[in-house]
């Protein structure tokens, strides 16, 4: 069992606090993605789990063991680094077998396990090459091979795809997912790319300024963001946020536009409350060109300032209550700049955040 538990884990560099006492439990064989902007403490947290950074406070457990003072080699983990960290003076076979050799494994067994790992990752034809002779994607695969060959309890990934081009990143993302299905192991994966987080994770941990902002399954985090930060960080393009006031059971925007308070949020609002209305571009569409036409909605007239056709859909830049709003048109229709359109907001999918705290008005 390789459950990972972080209890009030703190990291300080001198007087600077980088991680502010986070609590997190990662279940056995779970794939957890730590996501957040640079400097949010996600990599530091990963490195504390790995044992590459000292822990300034709190407790880190892997399985039953407290690992705070154990060196990386005693934690039974393996790690894929952002720059792959392949040993340049060894060929692929030696790179893969290095950990086993250090562990004193017999040469026959090393060869067998390296061959197995190479087979899983399609590295067999590359075993005699050095890292310098490999492409980015191949290096990435070798780094993953080096991680799986030791059969550790925990895999740690530190932004493993950020050095690859977009197409390769998509491919490798799928490979990592497949690998996890094949080799069931607890995975902690760090990225700043919310697409990776959404597609790979069993659970996403959104971090900001050294604190955990929200933990949940990708759909939970997407559908019920706990704060404006999560709302804008997860989902692309980001959620539109409009300052507003609750006024007689309705949401009044800065320019006086009034839309009804979403039914499911009514119980959480009070009159006069300053709020932020959050609505994803997917949920504002020209009438007749939206995802769903049923359910509660509000119609507002807006002028398209710019349209980006993406084939079967277009992104429309428009303006509401003095703020830029992104909307999405589903279908092949081309929108001209300056065109006035009636947009429908799918209010059942809208969010309300407290204007002061930035937190969702929902109690959960």
């Amino acid at each position: 069992m390789a459950e990972i538990t972080l209890e009030k884990v703190v990291k300080k560099y001198g007087a600077v606090n980088v991680v502010h006492g986070i609590d997190l439990t990662i279940a056995h064989e779970e794939f957890v993605v730590l996501v957040g902007p640079s400097g949010c403490g996600k990599s530091t947290t990963l490195r504390m789990i790995a044992g590459l950074e000292d822990i300034s406070g709190g407790i880190v457990r892997i399985g039953e063991r407290v690992v705070n003072d154990l060196p990386p080699r005693k934690r039974n983990i393996s790690m894929v680094f952002q720059n792959y960290a392949l040993y340049p003076h060894m060929n692929v076979r030696e790179n893969l077998g290095f950990g086993l050799k250090i562990a004193g494994e017999a040469p026959d067994s090393i060869t067998k396990r390296v061959d197995e790992a190479a087979d899983i990752l399609g590295l067999t034809p590359l075993l005699d090459r050095t890292p310098a002779e490999l492409s980015g994607g191949q290096r990435q695969r070798v780094a993953m091979g080096r991680a799986i060959v030791r059969r550790p309890e925990v895999f740690l990934f530190d932004e493993p795809l950020s050095n690859l081009d977009a197409k390769l990143r998509g491919q490798m993302r799928a490979e990592i997912k497949k690998l996890h299905q094949k080799v069931r192991t607890t995975v902690v994966y760090v990225t700043h790319d919310q697409v990776e987080a959404m597609t790979l994770a069993d659970r996403i941990v959104v971090m900001k300024d050294g604190r955990i902002e929200q933990v949940g399954t990708p759909m939970e985090v997407f559908n019920h963001p706990r704060s404006t930060f999560v709302a804008t960080f997860i989902g692309s393009p980001p959620m539109n946020l409009l300052p507003a006031t609750i006024d007689g059971g309705a949401v009044r925007l800065a320019d006086g536009t009034v839309v009804p308070v979403p039914e499911r949020l009514r119980a959480f609002t009070r009159d006069g409350q300053k709020v932020t209305l959050g609505i994803r571009p997917d949920d504002i569409s020209p009438v007749g060109h939206g995802l769903s036409q049923d359910g509660p909605g509000a119609e507002v007239g807006m002028v398209a300032e710019l349209a980006e056709p993406l084939g079967m859909e277009s992104l429309i830049y428009t303006r509401l209550a003095g703020q830029e709003v992104l909307a999405k048109l589903y279908g092949p229709r081309i929108v001209q700049p300056g065109e006035a359109l009636i947009f429908r907001m799918a209010l059942d999918r809208a969010h309300l955040f407290d204007a002061e705290t930035g937190l969702s008005v929902r109690a959960d």
Binding site: R73, F81, P88
Partner: protein, 289 residues
């Protein structure tokens, strides 16, 4: 079209000019060495001939026989002892300077500590002081310590002369090796010490070899301090031994040249053996160092 041709011609002219300049510089640097080597194989008379005789008319090994005491005409100079002294002093001081340089270079490249910048600058400034300027204080201290005219005395001097350079060069090398390699090795099961020897050391080998060659050559060729601090056959090095060829009224140029060749040859062989590392060392390590 003509502009292209013109620019090509001007490029060719420029390249030819640079080649000529490089050749001229090489001649200026090599001719004295060549003269020494040629003179090692001819009698004294020919060396001093006017007009100069460039190519030896009767090449001979007599000079070498003479200094090794093999011929009929012997010179009482213990070349063998000097050679051994030089070898022991240069090798020992190089090994110590390398050990310190590796530890220091690694520390400067990998660790943060108080006063790091100041210490590094201090080391570099120390390197800028001409060694001979320190010869008098060193002489006095060494004589008080009783290590004047010993190999140990000279080894200590050469180690301190070489350490700043070895640290600087090796630091540059370790800096180039991503920290994540050592971290990956530690995750793979290495102790920090194993990670150093199995991963970082092999990758910095070129730089360490380059630093070693430079340290060795500095110690092997050094004359000024050695001439102050040594006087007997138990500690005199080859360059100091060259002075033995000067008597009150005569200088045995031929013998001196033969001994100079003996000094040059090991240095040349060593440089040749590690030249690949040397070039990699100087360009790779030096850039960011």
């Amino acid at each position: 079209m003509s502009a292209v041709v013109e620019s090509q011609t001007s490029k060719q002219v420029k390249r030819a000019g640079l080649t000529a300049l490089a050749f001229l510089l090489m001649v200026v640097m090599c001719v004295p060495g060549l003269w020494v080597v040629l003179s090692a194989f001819r009698p004294n008379g020919e060396i001093l001939a006017k007009p100069p005789v460039w190519v030896p008319e009767n090449p001979t090994f007599d000079n070498f026989r003479k200094i090794f005491g093999l011929g009929t005409d012997q010179v009482a100079i213990p070349v063998g002892s000097y050679f051994m002294n030089s070898l022991i002093i240069a090798l020992t001081s190089t090994l110590i300077a390398l050990a310190i340089g590796m530890a220091g270079g690694y520390a400067f490249a990998r660790y943060r500590f108080r006063g790091k910048g100041g210490i590094f600058l201090g080391l570099m400034l120390f390197r800028a002081v001409p060694g001979i300027a320190l010869s008098l204080p060193v002489f006095i201290i060494w004589s008080k310590l009783g290590i004047i005219d010993t190999k140990l005395g000279l080894i200590i001097v050469y180690v301190s002369l070489n350490v700043p350079f070895t640290i600087w060069l090796i630091d540059g090398f370790f800096r180039q090796i991503p920290l994540s390699l050592s971290e990956a090795a530690q995750v793979d099961g290495c102790t920090r010490w194993q990670a150093f020897w199995k991963i970082e050391f092999p990758l910095a080998r070129s730089g360490i070899a380059a630093a070693g060659v430079f340290a060795f050559l500095t110690s092997w060729n050094e004359f000024a301090l050695a001439s102050q601090l040594t006087r007997s056959t138990t500690s005199k090095t080859l360059p100091v031994g060259l002075l033995d060829f000067t008597a009150q009224f005569t200088i045995d140029w031929a013998g001196m040249c033969a001994m100079a060749v003996i000094i040059i040859v090991p240095a040349l062989i060593l440089t040749f053996l590690v030249q690949k590392h040397l070039i990699a060392g100087l360009t790779f390590g030096g850039v960011k160092g």
